[in-house]
Symmetry: C2
Subunit: 340 residues, 2 copies
DNA sequence: CGTTTTTGTTGACTCGAGTAGATCGCGCTG
DNA sequence: CAGCGCGATCTACTCGAGTCAACAAAAACG
């Protein structure tokens, strides 16, 4: 009648290993970590044996307490179900794992309150660094984190705040090139579908679009503001369709919005790119398989993620923060008029 | 010449609070945790004051070491950039956060090796539970985790392994209903686009499709096997198009694959649902904004996530594992022939 | 052969918090 | 007024691992 065999879980500690190998606990540590003191080869072997037979695994929590480092990175995104942030999270996770770090993910659901909760939560959990993708260009949270000794990297920022580490795509010039490409297909009236940007900052994509229009001597273009998701793009599409005189091309600030926009066009029976040419931003997998395939500005997600991880774990506490900007690539598919 | 003001970070501990409030460290703990012993109201107030003025935050790592619980949940998905898993991760994260847990995310990139690495990594980090979305129905890993005292929940399994906690949609009957719905639109020849399932198990969706065909006295249907992503669906579509005599309707095992399949149909100039009717599985946001909008079987993601969190944190160690199956809902849009 | 240096090992303290067990002081009862 | 009970508080040990000062034994040097 006794025992529940399965639940008997011995929990092997350093002490057990030391006892079995006939050495002190210090030596076990030295062997496991390869330092800071030498251990005679023969002893090392005995300890290794003991570790193997007992199946000892060092307690990461204890190490974290002693060392003051959890080897965990936190990442906060506004919406993980957005394909762009999902890809970014994946890339960050992979880069972090390669360095032996795990990644805590927090979805802030576009809410500043939730974002703050996650950040403070992460700080309490002593993460070694935080990746923050925020709609906001808020300094207060970040400096609070840094004050608590947590290196923070802003990803995908739309402004250039120089007092904190920041990594993002080169918005302005890439967007200008994208719009100029549309112009190259003969379009003169090119609208912008722009996601809401919090704060009174000017989004780089909008700026690039303006620059391109100015460069081609075109008149002021129309702007459709909407939320940064498929529903927003759809909504913008409906407003676009309601126009008496419609622009012949559209530059859209994300693939997700573009997909929604396309749906609206399809519903109305318009053809892309014949009736309306479309170019979007991000370069997610989604853009490749929509109909028609979207021409888009592809962000170098992997490079940005790797640079982010490097900025967090490979940077001394006293190095000044850096802003790193990455060039994007124009991916030309059907929706702009290429490849038909 | 001294100091670098910003990097002076005092690190307040329980001891500092105790000193300032003029009490012992034990009392501080009692106040912070509301127990296990009483503290006189006046003293409580003093301690609270001290906590506030010093800005004390309990060290979660230390607590985790002492309590043997990190209040962290792990989640392993094959691919976070799949909209379905992204939504699932979001729902789990939210449910976990409401209970005061954080979520470590691991992307296994469809690789069993990476999956194992994540699981063992999570185990070392003493997570309190793991959500595992695996293409495989592998027991060994799971029982190893359980052996280390980590409650594990299989999400989105396609078989019924009763020796471990499992949560998933009701695949068979939902799929049968979906296919029957297509039949209701007059289709007799209904193909299946099926993602690769590892192991020699029969996918519930395939089983439901077979059942429906049998029920309507139809002949054997065609099956297109492909990977579980947009590219796979596209590839299946190409093979579908190459057929001399094409089925008039298709049931596809995920929205992602359906999007790729649609692209292939569009490329060939086929109309949906007039030439080919399509019904898919999952119910992600993506399905709503594709063209045409996809009729799909919506999984109750939020309920499943909540049930999963409950299974992990609200379950005693010795309770037997349960398999929980959740009903899905048919979402009828344009692609099947409804709503035109 | 005696002394210095090197090498290997250990005991003991530390990180920050939870909590059992001992202690203190106060009020009530007989 | 002694004795008891009880609530409030403190002391001290614990979780598991990192690492330094101290020490012993062996190697190198004169």
């Amino acid at each position: 009648m006794p025992d529940l065999s399965a639940s008997a879980r011995p929990v092997i500690t350093r002490k057990d290993v030391a006892r079995l190998a006939g050495v002190s606990t210090a030596v076990v540590s030295y062997v496991v970590n390869g330092g800071p003191k030498n251990v005679a080869p023969a002893t090392q072997e005995r300890v290794r044996q003991a570790i193997a037979t007992l199946g000892y695994r060092p307690n990461v929590t204890a190490r974290a307490l002693k060392m003051g480092s959890s080897r965990i990175l936190g990442m906060v995104v506004p919406k993980i179900s957005s394909p762009f942030f999902a890809s970014l999270a994946k890339a960050v996770e992979q880069a972090a794992e390669e360095e032996g770090y795990a990644m805590l993910l927090g979805d802030s659901r576009d809410s500043l309150t939730v974002e703050r909760r996650h950040l403070s939560n992460f700080a309490d959990r002593q993460v070694d660094g935080v990746f923050l993708c925020s709609v906001l260009n808020h300094r207060p949270e970040v400096s609070e984190l840094e004050g608590r000794g947590i290196r923070t990297v802003l990803l995908n920022f739309s402004e250039y705040p120089l007092e904190v580490d920041a990594i993002g795509p080169e918005f302005v010039d890439s967007s200008r090139r994208a719009v100029e490409h549309l112009a190259g297909h003969g379009h003169r009236d090119i609208a912008l579908v722009q996601g809401f940007v919090t704060g009174n900052t000017l989004d780089g994509r909008e700026f690039g679009w303006r620059e391109a229009l100015k460069g081609m001597g075109a008149s002021e273009g129309r702007i459709f503001r909407c939320s940064f998701d498929r529903a927003g793009g759809y909504d913008a599409g409906r407003r676009f369709l309601a126009l008496a005189e419609r622009p012949t091309a559209v530059f859209i600030t994300s693939d997700e919005q573009a997909v929604g926009f396309l749906r609206a066009l399809h519903e109305a029976g318009l053809r892309v790119p014949e009736d309306v040419a479309v170019m979007s931003f991000d370069g997610s997998e989604e853009s490749e398989f929509s109909w028609p395939p979207l021409s888009t500005v592809r962000q170098p997600i992997q490079q940005m993620a790797e640079a982010g991880v490097r900025a967090i774990i490979g940077t001394g506490r006293d190095e000044p923060p850096r802003t790193q900007v990455f060039d994007c690539e124009l991916v030309l598919r059907r929706s702009c008029g290429c490849d038909t």
